[in-house]
Structure formats: structure tokens, C-alpha cells
């Protein structure tokens, strides 16, 4: 028995409208896309105001007057659209970029560089024969893939050493194939959720 809930009907219509793009671009899809953009921007404002209240205004209420500076910087973000004083928005952006970059690169060196090399610098021969083969293949993969991304050292691409980047490109392509295969599963894994919604919540023909 088909659901009587208007919320489910709206959701079902929008699900079908959003799917229609796969067949051909059409008015229903344009309607769905514009709804999506408007709703997403509205949600951003609601969550933004809530965060300003919870993590900014609450501090002001507790007497931390220094937070006035944060509110000032926050408003300055919107000077970006002012004809003459647009450069004011650079102060808060500079703060955000400094914070964002500092917070990620400080750990990036450790997680993406030293620890990855430490993992590479582990014994090649394992207890089992298969284990050793796998270790060697992984080791060759890392070293050749890395050599493929060396651009300024001319010698890397000549004669015997030249095999490094070539094999590296092959190993990368093999790994990209695995990623492509997994992406097929990602897309189907997500869309099947919508079909189950249509059959279970909307048409109510499956449990």
C-alpha cells in the first residue's frame, strides 16, 4: 500500500528527478538541481549561525571580551563584495589559511613522509615465501612509483635507471585499475540505497 506521507512523496519525486539526468538533461532535473543548491546554502547558514552561537557567543556571555575581535574578523569576511574595501576580507582569510595550513602540514610530514618511509624500510624476507614475494612487490611498487615522480633529475630517465619510472608508471596504472573497480562499487552501493527507499518507504512493496 503506497505511503500517504507527503514527505515521502516529495523525496520520491526528487529522487526520480535527480536520476533523470543520467538519461537526458531535462527540466525536472534543472528543478532538482536548483532546489539542491538553494537548500544546501540555506543549511550552511543555519549551521553557521548555530556554531557562531555555541562556540563564539557563549564565550562572550561568559565575559571573554577578546571574542569581540573574532566577531569583527568574521564580519570582515563579507567586505569581499565591497567595491573599495574588499581587501579587508584578507585579514580573516589570512588567519584561516595560516591556521589551516599550519595544522595540516605539521603532522603531514610525520604521517605522509617519515612513517611511510619507515614502513618501506622494513625487512623484505618474511616467514612465508608468499609473504616475501608480496613484500618485494610492494617494495618495488613504492620505489618505482616514487621515481616516476622525479622531474628535475635528468639521470633518472636515462638507460638502466630509466626502467624505474617506466615500471613505476605501470605499477601506478595497475593500482588505478583497482581504484576504478572500487569506484564502480561505490556508485552502485550508493544508488541501491535510493531504490530501496523507493520500494520500501514509498511504494512499500518490500519489507
Amino acid at each position: 500500500m503506497v505511503s500517504m506521507d507527503p514527505q515521502i512523496w516529495i523525496a520520491a519525486f526528487l529522487t526520480l528527478a535527480a536520476t533523470s539526468y543520467a538519461f537526458r538533461d531535462n527540466k525536472a532535473f534543472k528543478f532538482a538541481e536548483n532546489t539542491f543548491i538553494g537548500v544546501a546554502a540555506g543549511h550552511q547558514i543555519v549551521m553557521g549561525v548555530k556554531n557562531i552561537r555555541d562556540y563564539g557567543w557563549s564565550h562572550l556571555m561568559q565575559g571573554e571580551m577578546i571574542y569581540i575581535v573574532v566577531f569583527l574578523l568574521g564580519v570582515m569576511l563579507y567586505a569581499r563584495y565591497h567595491k573599495e574595501y574588499y581587501w579587508l576580507y584578507r585579514y580573516p582569510i589570512a588567519f584561516l589559511v595560516g591556521n589551516g595550513v599550519g595544522i595540516s602540514i605539521r603532522a603531514g610530514i610525520h604521517s605522509d613522509f617519515t612513517l611511510q618511509i619507515a614502513e618501506t624500510a622494513s625487512p623484505l624476507i618474511a616467514s612465508t615465501a608468499m609473504g616475501s614475494i608480496n613484500n618485494i612487490i610492494t617494495f618495488v611498487g613504492v620505489i618505482t612509483a616514487l621515481s616516476h615522480f622525479i622531474f628535475t633529475y635528468e639521470g633518472m630517465h636515462k638507460d638502466t635507471l630509466g626502467w624505474g619510472p617506466k615500471i613505476g608508471r605501470w605499477m601506478i596504472l595497475l593500482a588505478l585499475g583497482a581504484s576504478f573497480g572500487n569506484t564502480v562499487m561505490t556508485r552502485f552501493g550508493m544508488y541501491q540505497g535510493r531504490v530501496i527507499f523507493l520500494l520500501r518507504e514509498w511504494l512499500q512493496i518490500i519489507a
Partner: protein, 276 residues
């Protein structure tokens, strides 16, 4: 037009219709095929299983509507296991829509009726905190300097679990589920690299290859590989849900994709190889 050219130019609408049918059939009558559990999902399950009761988990709902169809079921299965093992969970959201996923997940888990869990003592939800890595560093650094209330405005001091937690050292493990590469890397940087906290990560399967280096180097103890990992965890925890239904749908749709690939390539080579 030779047979091969015909085979190479099946109209798009026919292909799309076939795909839609390939989803409908298993959805209408599931096959219930046996499941082979991947090693990374098994690692997630064992890590949580070996944690002593009462341990505190920091869990980031780092996805929204775009990720819900494949990460939602995995999140539900993960919470089932955590509540069953009497772990205490401090939840937060680094994704803008994370706080809208929370009620849907709780409806799937029902911790009160299934496990007698009490909000405030066994689990707390801090809500969405802006800034992704800034939010992570803020919570792990000094929670109470940042936040004073939970997602419904209840003050943290009145919630025993929230009052007990001050920063990274109070969390026994950090777990997240996300559709964003920045969030997946962010937790490795902020929780493991900075505070040496063990990590469990769930992501879309298209991200698995680029997140795996963290799992290989021991920076992550478990990795839930999209809908496949979710089905594994549902199977391991014994709480069948949408993810297991999806594996039947995946069987049909991906077999169809394999057939398309076969047709496309055979026709391509026959036509090129003198089939003209």
C-alpha cells in the same frame, strides 16, 4: 552496419534501463548469498571486540546525505557492536550534515531499548563543529575550552560522560566515517600523529586505495571499505541491515557491468581486427 558496430552502439537509454532492472530484481527478492569478510573489516571488528568495557570512543559522523546510502548502514553496525561491548561514545560531526544523520542512525540502533544505554552517561552528541581539522584539534586539545553545550544545548557539565572527558588522553580510540578525503587524512594527522590515539576509519570504497597507506603503516587499526565493509561488519556483528541487501544488488548490477565491458571490448577488437 556489421554486427560488431551494432554491438558497439547500443543506445544509452537501453543500457540505463538494463541497469535499473538489474537493481530492481534483487531488491524485490534478495538471494541471501554467503559473504566473504575482508581482512580490513575483520581488523575493525577485532579491535572493537578487544576493547575493555567502559572504554571511551570519540566517533566522528563525517558524512551527510551524499554518503548515507553506503556509510549509514556501516555506522549503524559499528554502533551496535560498540554498545553491545558497553563502550561509551562521544559523538561529533565534522560534516555539515552530520547532525542530520545522527537521528537517522539512532533510529537504526535504538541504544536505549536494545542496550539500556542512557544519553549523557553512555553516549553524548556534540553536534556539528565547523573547521574540519580545526574542530578535531579543538576537541582533542581541550574540549571544555571549546564547547560548553551538547547539540541540544544541554550544558556539558550536567552530562557525566562529557564532564569526564577533557581531551585526547581521555579517549581510548578515535573512529570516523566520512566521504571526504580531507577528513580521513585529518584524523590521522590530528589524532594519531599529534596525540598517538589509535584510529578506526570508514570511507567510500573509491577512497580506500588512497587511505590504505595509513592502514599499512599502522596509523589506522581498521578500515571499513564502503558498502562492502559495512556488509562485512553487519555479518560479523549479526545485525543484518541494508548493507547485506546491497550485496545482492551489487551481484546483479556489477555482473551486468562486466558483461558490458566484455561486449564493448570484444566488439572493439573484432571490428578493429578486420571484422570490417
Amino acid at each position: 552496419m556489421s554486427i560488431w558496430e551494432k554491438l558497439m552502439s547500443i543506445p544509452r537509454e537501453v543500457i540505463m534501463a538494463l541497469v535499473f532492472i538489474a537493481i530492481l530484481i534483487p531488491a524485490l527478492n534478495p538471494l541471501g548469498l554467503p559473504l566473504m569478510v575482508g581482512s580490513m573489516s575483520q581488523a575493525w571488528y577485532d579491535t572493537v571486540d578487544n576493547m575493555p568495557a567502559g572504554s571511551i570512543v570519540l566517533f566522528d559522523i563525517g558524512y551527510g546525505s551524499g554518503g548515507y546510502p553506503s556509510l549509514g548502514p556501516g555506522n549503524i553496525a559499528a554502533f551496535h557492536q560498540m554498545f553491545e561491548n558497553d563502550l561509551r561514545i562521544v559523538m561529533m560531526a565534522t560534516d555539515l550534515e552530520g547532525s542530520m544523520m545522527y537521528p537517522l542512525i539512532m533510529a537504526g540502533v535504538k541504544p536505549e531499548s536494545n542496550y539500556g544505554a542512557v544519553y549523557g552517561e553512555d553516549y553524548v552528541f556534540l553536534g556539528y563543529i565547523a573547521g574540519t581539522q580545526t574542530a578535531m584539534a579543538g576537541v582533542l586539545g581541550d574540549l571544555h575550552a571549546l564547547a560548553s553545550a551538547d547539540y541540544q544545548g544541554t550544558s556539558l557539565s550536567s552530562l557525566p560522560l562529557a564532564a569526564e572527558v577533557g581531551g585526547a588522553e581521555d579517549f581510548d580510540i578515535v573512529a570516523y566515517m566520512t566521504t571526504a578525503g580531507g577528513t580521513a587524512e585529518g584524523w590521522v594527522y590530528q589524532a594519531y600523529s599529534q596525540y598517538d590515539r589509535p584510529i578506526l576509519g570508514g570511507c567510500l570504497s573509491m577512497m580506500t586505495t588512497s587511505i590504505k597507506p595509513y592502514y599499512d603503516s599502522g596509523q589506522m587499526l581498521g578500515l571499513m571499505d564502503g558498502i562492502k565493509g559495512a556488509a562485512d561488519l553487519e555479518f560479523l556483528t549479526g545485525h543484518a541491515g541494508d548493507a547485506i541487501i546491497s550485496s545482492d544488488i551489487l551481484s546483479f548490477t556489477q555482473t551486468l557491468v562486466l558483461i558490458f565491458i566484455l561486449i564493448g571490448n570484444v566488439a572493439f577488437w573484432m571490428q578493429k581486427g578486420g571484422g570490417k
